[in-house]
């Protein structure tokens, strides 16, 4: 992903990979940036999550399922899945005018499609699952961070899915395949490829690429990112478990078949 960037800060002779094979921030080619995930951070939304990923700060929220509007958009057989990806004006180095630009519209679309594939939409005819991804601070890889956060928000909202979706990007700097490019690497690197997958089945739900990769490089890149996606998936599960930590005794009376025998009526 390339962000329109002012170039004043970047010196032309900057080395993205030094003689020890380390990147600008000291990472090895296969290292992820530090990632923090938190679930259930907003009160109004049905589900929400916050992800810090390197220099990215991303908030995702879900409303739904709720009746789809306008009426003519409703599908009587299933729910719509509508995602809105947006960057806050202060999220990038040069202020971005508020409102969707073409890039945001495209990213919204590919992310909507990714989730449409895993959500059990047929359980909610005429409804819509509305996903909102807000980039508060950007440092390359925002769509991956956003998608990862949105997955958590969907689970937090109780939306039935086949699996969580995890996402990461991989790129190339010079001849070196590198995982999870940061802003400078993305701007001056030679390829960038964000990917999202269903970790359990290996299905690829989002795949975009720009740059130059030979077939062998693509293979290598994909292997690297698939492994990273597995690691991110584990982090997502951990974040959900932390948020919903529970012990056995507290639910000991609750089975799915218990009739509502405690109707407190007329007292």
């Amino acid at each position: 992903m390339r962000i329109m960037e002012d170039v004043e800060h970047i010196e032309k002779e900057m080395k993205l990979i030094d003689e020890n094979g380390l990147r600008l921030d000291g990472r090895k080619p296969e290292d992820l940036r530090p990632i923090k995930m938190e679930v259930g951070v907003l009160r109004r939304a049905d589900g929400s999550a916050y992800v810090e990923w390197g220099g990215n700060k991303v908030l995702a929220a879900v409303y739904g399922p709720r009746e789809a509007h306008p009426r003519h958009m409703q599908d009587p057989t299933k729910s719509l899945v509508q995602c809105r990806y947006n960057m806050a004006p202060f999220s990038v180095t040069e202020r971005k005018r508020p409102g969707p630009d073409r890039r945001s519209v495209e990213i919204s679309k590919v992310i909507s499609e990714a989730f449409d594939s895993v959500i059990f939409t047929e359980q909610f005819p005429r409804a819509s699952v509305d996903i909102f991804i807000e980039i508060l601070q950007a440092d390359a890889g925002t769509r991956c961070a956003g998608l990862t956060a949105a997955s958590l928000a969907l689970a937090d909202a109780g939306i039935p899915m086949r699996d969580l979706v995890a996402s990461c990007a991989v790129g190339k700097i010079g001849d070196v395949i590198c995982l999870d490019l940061r802003k400078e690497e993305d701007n001056y690197g030679d390829a960038d490829m964000p990917v999202a997958m269903v970790p359990r089945t290996g299905e690829i739900l989002l795949l975009q690429m720009d740059g130059h990769l030979t077939l062998m490089e693509f293979d290598k890149a994909f292997t690297l990112v698939k492994d990273a996606i597995g690691r991110i998936y584990e982090m997502q599960k951990e974040a959900l478990r932390t948020r919903y930590a529970v012990t056995a005794e507290e639910f000991s009376d609750q089975t799915e078949n218990q009739p509502y025998e405690n109707r407190e009526v007329g007292q």
Partner: protein, 256 residues
């Protein structure tokens, strides 16, 4: 923009305020707990994320070079915008800013501008050609009432930690020159009862709303009355008095 509230809830909230108390245990004149986190966004020249009760607002300030207005050739520029992003409330929709968002942005802007909060003369680089423009972008993340004050506190908090990136011109970065601290306080009128810093439910049943921005000298800098009800002159004065009182604690928090 408001969601529906049931008659039962409406009566309940009114009964509470008639009795001098509110659903969160506050008195009619109390402001909700305010937390401020400054320098929240690294890419911005200034920023703050604030929580007023459960209302959550993030404000980013970007300071960029631009052309001055022709009638103020040696002054920097302040430009304020607000987005009520859809995740903040089930009734916020995507799309261009609606009247609610625009009103909030303009009222916050007026409070800051009319108090000469920023010494805009110190933001001039080359008269008539180049000045610094302060873009204050208000991003409402979670709506639990009183967006006017939450947005204003967020904007003021962000401005107090903003740095002018003069290093772009080969000079030293310097703090945005703040010379006044206007604080807005909003009151809602529910039938004949006035409450300060209305929460969401109180806002939903309010007949009228009055926002008053006062400065550190106790002078009024901006006012905005909203909704379809009315205030008497005595009520307006009462709100001004309550606003002055409530603003002191808030001002101290923002300046800290």
């Amino acid at each position: 923009m408001t969601e529906m509230i049931s008659e039962l809830q409406r009566e309940r909230v009114y009964k509470l305020v008639l009795g001098g108390t509110r659903s969160d245990g506050r008195t009619l004149e109390e402001v909700r707990p305010l937390t401020i986190e400054k320098n929240y966004i690294k890419n911005a020249e200034g920023s703050a994320r604030i929580k007023l009760g459960n209302t959550d607002v993030l404000v980013g300030v970007k300071v960029e070079l631009g052309v001055p207005y022709p009638d103020t050739p040696d002054s920097g520029v302040l430009s304020t915008g607000a987005e009520l992003i859809p995740m903040a409330s089930p009734v916020f929709e995507s799309g261009p800013p609606r009247p609610d968002a625009i009103e909030i942005a303009r009222v916050v802007d007026r409070g800051i501008r009319e108090a000469h909060t920023i010494d805009l003369k110190k933001l001039c680089v080359t008269p008539k050609e180049k000045v610094w423009i302060c873009f204050v972008d208000i991003h409402v993340l979670d709506h639990d009432g009183n967006l006017f004050d939450a947005a204003s506190y967020g904007a003021m908090s962000a401005l107090t930690c903003t740095k002018v990136p003069a290093s772009k011109l080969g000079l030293q970065d310097y703090p945005l020159p703040i010379q006044h601290y206007p604080i807005s306080v909003t009151a809602a009128k529910i039938k004949d009862v006035i409450v300060i810093d209305p929460n969401l439910q109180e806002e939903q049943i309010a007949d009228a709303r009055l926002t008053v921005a006062t400065d550190e000298n106790g002078d009024i800098r901006a006012m905005q009355k909203g909704l379809r009800g009315s205030f008497s002159y005595e009520e307006v004065n009462r709100v001004i008095g309550l606003a002055l009182k409530a603003s002191e604690v808030v001002r101290a928090k923002i300046k800290a």
